[in-house]
Amino acid sequence: MINKYITFISWEDRFVESLKYDLNEFSDIDEVVFFYFKEEKFYSKTKKNVSELQQIVNNESITISIHSLSFDDYLSSWKIVNDVFNEFDDEDEFVLNISTMPRNIIFSILHFLTNSESNFSIKYFSPMSHGNDITRNPSKPELILQHGGIMLPSKKIILIVILGHDIKRVHQLYNFIEPSQIHIGLGTNHQTALPSDLDTDFDDIQNKEIFKINSFSSEEVYSILKERILTLREDFNIVLCSLGPKIETVGIFKVHKEYPETALLYAPSKDYADDYSSGTNLSNIITISSM
């Protein structure tokens, strides 16, 4: 029986709309766990929703627990998520709404959920549309804690990355870890058009292989990455990174769990536009009930 709901507070429409939708659907929820970033650049956008959580949940029998995380200090955020999970019981079952959750927090929560062998479902709500200039100002890429893989100094690095709207972000990753090869997955089910001239967009990148992938399908992400990992794992250190829709992190995490020698890398963006997304596409909700 699903009784715990985990989500990440955002200024996007889909935060409130997806929460309301799910609370209607899961009538046995007794606690909603909210995470948010405390830094002003995010909090200035989310504080309205933070202060109105009681009204949004609108159900006195549901406990609301709110936990502030730090965008700038992933280590402390990890410890907070760990503490939150230490409080849960073995019988607790979860819904994890990843729609507005940063990818490092998704990976962290998936770590604790899978380690505790809990029952959980993952929900993803797409927006109706995205703004034009959605993310910018990248920060230093970080390995996901406890998922840095097993790297051998004798092997060269291969980076497998799935891109989203902002295909230029791959350059930052490429410059940062200078892999011997890079496999670039381009999402086929995006609202934005795929680049017309791949050679121009990626001309600074050498030894690249470009593949198409439906990044909204965690199963396809899992199977395509698995196929690539199987051919590369003997000879290379493999680093996996997600820059596309949040839902692809689920497929990436699943394949990484199967091949724990691969490393999970997170490439954060410091700034998100106020018009990052608008609306919630309630006719296209993705639910993943097992990993």
Partner: protein, 573 residues
């Protein structure tokens, strides 16, 4: 193999034999082969990794460039996710966390150390010495080694340790790695044991640590502490880093390692800037070596990069007329004085004449020839190889497989295209460089645009005193209230490969930082990339205004023309 001789590939991805063929030796490899601790500084593409790999033992042996093994280089790349791990910091005990960081570093060093010997086609260690090694290693490290595969077994033991450590960090990072090794417990005994081998008694081991800025701060501190021992009789460290800003020079004792005491610095880019002829010679050797390796019939760079006869004739005519006093440039000088200084004015007059001609106001032909290409590269080999590679591909499309020279048209079209791209890419830096914001890119674009427009007016003004300044300095930067913002924008320019630096003279006879924008930016502004070692000095406040105001170059020129001169021009003698 790609048949483009100029295809630029990261040095870490080049095969050993290809690296031996392509490497052009210069005084740097001699410096590296000393017993000193050395920091090698240079941005991406400056040739750090090529130099470090070239110095490593397997490549030195392939190249037959060493007759004995008095210096053994062990190459260690820090560009690995292994050193990005912060899991050990989930252990609240900072000392234990630091030990685990050092443990991962020394295991990697030991693995590379043993790999270096295992990679050799013929062992340089006799069977008798292998038995000695077996005994000693078993004693120090409590392992059992088979006498027929002593090094292989110990290498496996090291790898197992490395794998176990990573598994430990994946499962229970908050707990200490009880078997953790340090430099003192692993590397020092290992080196001591190898020094017992008869053929290695006089050997000096050099750890060639590439991309040291990728090590965690605690690992950098460990490394600095080993450097601070100062005893380099058996071991020295050569550490390649991008910039000094990205590396901590602190030791465990919280002191700082000192240049010229603990280490010396080899700055690859600044060395090239300070001597144009050195770089031109070096660049020429690199290109000619590649033409030879790829069997290109034309082996001479001056012939390979065509300069149209019409252009050289035009320059000769301008020279003649300049000496004759036919142009407003230096018409007040004596003829002999003009003759001596003609080379400084001929190209600028060509640019001015083109700008005054209605139809042909783009000085296309000035962007041809090997000399122009080396100037455009701003002293960075990568900046030379990239346009050459594109030119080669274009030419191949036009002529088929055999490319025996690059036409003038292909050269200037490529340089204009690459120049436009360089300007366009400024906007993209905010998605490419860590901690670069959109606002930083706007300010960087403004400052480069203002500087370029300032140079344009200087170049085209026939009465202008100095024609070919391509660098700038910033006066009293530290005292300026916007100093942090200015430094950040410049740092992004440096990280984005748009600004290069070197230490040069300041206006008071001291030393200061000289900034040279990447000269690939200048064809878009019809500027001459062939310059001299001159610089424009901007006061900090004026520089800040260049960052925050469009078209501020006009204001600076107006101020100079009305006698209100804040900055000044000077030339490196």
């Amino acid at each position: 193999m790609n048949n483009n001789p100029f295809m630029h590939e990261a040095a870490t991805n080049i095969e050993d034999s290809k690296l031996v063929d392509m490497f052009i030796d210069n005084e740097h490899s001699h410096i590296l082969n000393s017993q000193k601790n050395i920091f090698i500084i240079g941005n991406r593409g400056s040739g750090k990794s090529m130099l470090m790999r070239y110095t490593s033992l397997p490549i030195q042996l392939k190249n037959n460039s060493i007759q004995d093994i008095n210096n053994i280089g062990i190459y260690i790349s820090c560009m690995t996710p292994l050193f990005m791990r912060i899991d050990q910091r989930l252990n609240d005990d900072k000392f234990q966390s630091a030990i685990v960081s050092e443990h991962m570093l020394v295991l990697t060093m030991a693995e590379r150390f043993l790999s270096t010997f295992l990679e050799l086609d013929e062992s340089i260690i006799s069977e008798e010495d292998l038995l000695l090694l077996k005994e000693e290693i078993e004693f120090y490290f409590d392992v059992n080694l088979n006498e027929t595969r002593v090094l292989k077994d110990f290498h496996r033991w090291i790898i197992k340790n490395l794998i176990d450590t990573q598994k430990h960090l994946n499962i229970s990072p908050s707990k200490f790695v009880s078997e953790a090794h340090t430099y003192s417990s692993l590397m020092m005994p290992l080196i001591q044991v190898f020094k017992e081998v008869s053929s290695l008694k006089k050997t000096h081991f050099m750890f060639l640590i590439d991309d040291g800025q990728m090590l965690s701060t605690t690992q950098q501190i460990s490394l600095n502490s080993w450097i601070s021992y100062r005893d380099t009789s058996s071991v020295s460290f050569k550490i390649a880093i991008t910039t000094t800003d990205e590396y901590s020079f602190l030791t465990v004792q919280e002191s700082v390692i000192l240049e010229n005491h603990d280490y010396i610095t080899l700055d690859l880019e600044r060395d090239f800037f300070s001597g144009k002829s050195t770089f031109v010679e070096f660049a020429k050797k690199i290109i000619e070596k590649r033409l030879e390796l790829y069997n290109i019939p034309t082996r001479n760079v001056e012939d390979f990069f065509e300069v149209p006869k019409s252009f050289t004739n035009e320059l000769s005519l301008i020279r003649k007329k300049f000496i004759n006093g036919d142009y407003p440039e230096r018409e007040d000088w004596e003829e002999e004085q003009r003759r001596r200084n003609a080379s400084k004015f001929v190209r600028s007059i060509y640019f001015r004449l083109n700008s005054e001609t209605e139809k042909a106001n783009i000085p296309k032909l000035a962007y041809t020839g090997f000399d122009t290409l080396t100037n455009i590269s701003t002293g960075v080999i990568r900046n030379l190889l990239v346009p050459c590679s594109i030119m080669y591909e274009k030419e191949k499309e036009l002529k088929g497989e055999t490319v025996d020279f690059i036409s003038a048209k292909t050269q200037y079209e490529t340089l204009f295209y690459e120049s436009r791209k360089a300007w366009e890419k400024i906007d993209e830096l905010s998605v490419k460089i860590v901690d670069c914001t959109h606002e930083h890119t706007v300010m960087l674009r403004r400052v480069l645009d203002n500087f370029g427009k300032y140079l344009q007016q200087k170049l085209l003004d026939p009465k202008g005193t100095e024609k070919k300044i391509l660098s700038f300095t910033i006066h009293d930067l530290e005292k300026n209230q916007h100093s942090d913002k200015i430094k950040k924008v410049i740092k992004i320019g440096i990280q984005g490969g748009l600004i290069y630096t070197r230490i040069g003279p300041d206006h008071n006879g001291g030393r200061t930082m000289w900034y040279t924008p990447n000269r690939i930016l200048w064809p878009s502004l019809n500027l001459d990339p062939v310059g001299q070692n001159g610089r424009k000095n901007f006061p900090g406040e004026q520089f800040y205004k260049m960052m925050t105001n469009d078209n501020y170059a006009n204001t600076i020129i107006k101020e100079e023309n009305t006698g209100y001169v804040q900055g000044e021009l000077s030339f490196d003698k």
